[in-house]
């Protein structure tokens, strides 16, 4: 099997830089990371210097994603040799136990970390994800609530909690979590849009109006957000169709819905034309090849 460096004609520095970019962007393309990282570790370990430890960590987590236990174990052993007392490494060995579904042992690991350092957020979050993996969503929600009482600023946790609540159909509480996120990231159109969707799902005239406002906000922040456009159309038409609104509000909403519909049509037309152009050029290429 050809190695990555032969297939793509890249040197080890480019592979290392690619890994760094993936690390910084928090990409979860585990198979690619495993391929690139494995080669980097086995062939070019000595040239990497101190970078190798963080690459071990990155590759190990990716290997757990791809069920490559052998690779994960090697990385973990190297890290353990180098940093015997580190909490970070302990967390990684806990994650490996989780991947092997040995949840009780993993829990013991995390409890040991927490005893040593009560402020360690990573261990707490892993415990909560164990509960989630075991399917115990109510307990996971409870633990996550307790965690958030202590660490109110953890945005990842708020987002996770909102997802858990949506799965439990508790839309009011999910909306609360999303509000926290919207406050801390006022310019992120995705949170606005998710919040609007939750409000739309809750139903009722007030919530529909709120959702319409937030879909509009999401569009203002990013005018190419198709979901927000669709959401605007749906919520506006629902408000217009509702029997409780005044005639003026009805008229306004019909206007908004119509505008949203034209925008959607226009966007699809553009996409369609791009698609047909691509299709015709590809056909042209194929016909030339024959």
């Amino acid at each position: 099997m050809a190695s990555i460096s032969e297939m793509y004609d890249v040197g080890w520095e480019e592979m290392r830089d690619k890994l760094r970019k993936w690390r910084e962007d928090n990409c979860r393309n585990s198979e690619q990371i495993v391929d690139v990282g494995e080669e980097l570790i086995s062939e070019h370990a000595s040239k990497l210097g101190d970078d190798i430890w963080i690459i071990y960590e990155q590759v190990m987590i990716a290997a757990l994603d791809c069920s490559r236990d052998d690779l994960a174990l090697t990385c973990l052993q190297e890290l353990r040799k180098q940093f015997p007392d580190s909490h970070r490494v302990k967390r990684l060995s806990g994650m490996r136990l989780e991947a092997l579904e040995r949840y009780d042992e993993a829990n013991k690991h995390y409890d040991a970390i927490l005893q040593d350092d009560p402020t360690n957020t990573a261990a707490r979050k892993r415990k909560i994800s164990i509960l989630k993996a075991q399917g115990k969503s109510t307990e996971a929600i409870r633990e996550l609530n307790e965690y958030l009482e202590q660490f109110v600023g953890d945005q990842e946790a708020w987002h996770e909690l909102s997802e858990l609540y949506i799965n439990e159909h508790d839309y009011g509480k999910a909306a609360f979590c999303l509000e926290e996120l919207m406050m801390t990231n006022p310019h992120n159109h995705l949170y606005c849009e998710q919040y609007a969707e939750v409000k739309y799902t809750q139903g009722g005239l007030e919530n529909l109006e709120l959702s319409r406002k937030y879909f509009a906000q999401a569009l203002r922040l990013n005018n190419r957000n198709m979901r927000a456009l669709f959401g605007l159309y749906m919520s506006a038409s629902h408000i217009a169709a509702s029997p409780k609104v005044s005639a003026k509000v009805k008229k306004d909403n019909v206007k908004y819905a119509a505008w949203a519909a034209t925008q959607i049509n226009r966007a699809y037309k553009v996409k369609l034309s791009i698609w047909t152009a691509t299709k015709s050029s590809l056909l042209h290429l194929f016909s030339k090849m024959d």
């Binding site: 109110v152 919207m182 801390t184 006022p186």
Partner: protein
């Protein structure tokens, strides 16, 4: 009337000005590494972390509260500021003001601060004054009044000499302050050699960054939150958006 320019021996430049620069710089670098070695680990308790995050959340509520609906904003404000059981009213942290005498870790910190920063400066300043005495080193480019003479011309007893001509000790002090930017270039930000900044921090830090002062912080946050009001940014958003869209289509 034109002032007669003094012509200094170029040996002064070679053997006085440059060595003082080097000495100051090297001492600064050494101080930086010594401070790293002597640094003690600061362990934060869970409560401190939690409190700091709560304060941040309350501040964000004040600043960005206008992006969430009025109901939610009021709900959160109520949670924080309610008369009987609002968070800021209810939570009283045990305040142990860390006085320098009783708290051993603070004491050692202060001692270390003194040893690494103030002491070398005094010693080296004195040594330079003693070694390089008896002549003027350089001229500052702006005119100074006569009051500065005894300060800046330590070893030279000439009444008629312009106050702009300074001795080597003042050149040393100039260096200490001037090389700060060099340190941040070479050692990175937040380095241990940046002495004037450390002195500044020590003076202002002792006044404000007392870790056990969360009660005061809570009270301040409570007042600020009481004063803020909810101005919903999304009041007229759909009309605004529609208007913009129509404008761009025309």
């Amino acid at each position: 009337m034109a002032e007669p320019e003094l012509l200094l021996d170029s040996n002064i430049r070679l053997w006085v000005v440059l060595p003082i620069v080097f000495i100051t710089f090297l001492v600064g670098v050494i101080r930086h590494y010594v401070s790293i070695l002597l640094q003690s680990d600061k362990k934060l308790t869970l409560e401190q972390v939690s409190d700091s995050q709560v304060l941040i959340r309350s501040r964000i509520l004040r600043e960005n509260g206008k992006y969430i609906p009025k109901q939610s904003y009021l709900m959160r404000k109520f949670y924080f500021n309610n008369q009987e059981d609002g968070f800021f009213k209810k939570t009283k942290r045990k305040v142990v003001p860390p006085s320098p005498m009783t708290d051993p870790s603070m004491l050692t910190d202060i001692m270390k601060g003194n040893v690494t920063n103030v002491l070398p400066m005094i010693l080296i300043g004195g040594w330079i004054n003693w070694t390089f005495s008896g002549f003027v080193t350089t001229k500052v480019p702006f005119p100074l009044t006569l009051r500065f003479k005894p300060m800046l011309q330590q070893g030279i007893e000439l009444l008629s000499l312009d106050a702009s001509w300074v001795s080597s000790a003042s050149w040393y002090f100039l260096n200490v302050f001037g090389l700060r930017s060099m340190y941040s270039l070479i050692l990175g930000q937040d380095n241990g050699a940046d002495q004037p900044r450390i002195m500044q921090e020590q003076m202002s830090g002792a006044a404000m960054a007392m870790p056990a002062d969360t009660n005061k912080a809570f009270k301040a946050e409570w007042e600020a939150l009481e004063l803020t009001d909810h101005q919903w940014a999304l009041e007229t958003i759909i009309e605004h958006l529609h208007h913009l869209a129509l404008k761009s289509e025309v």
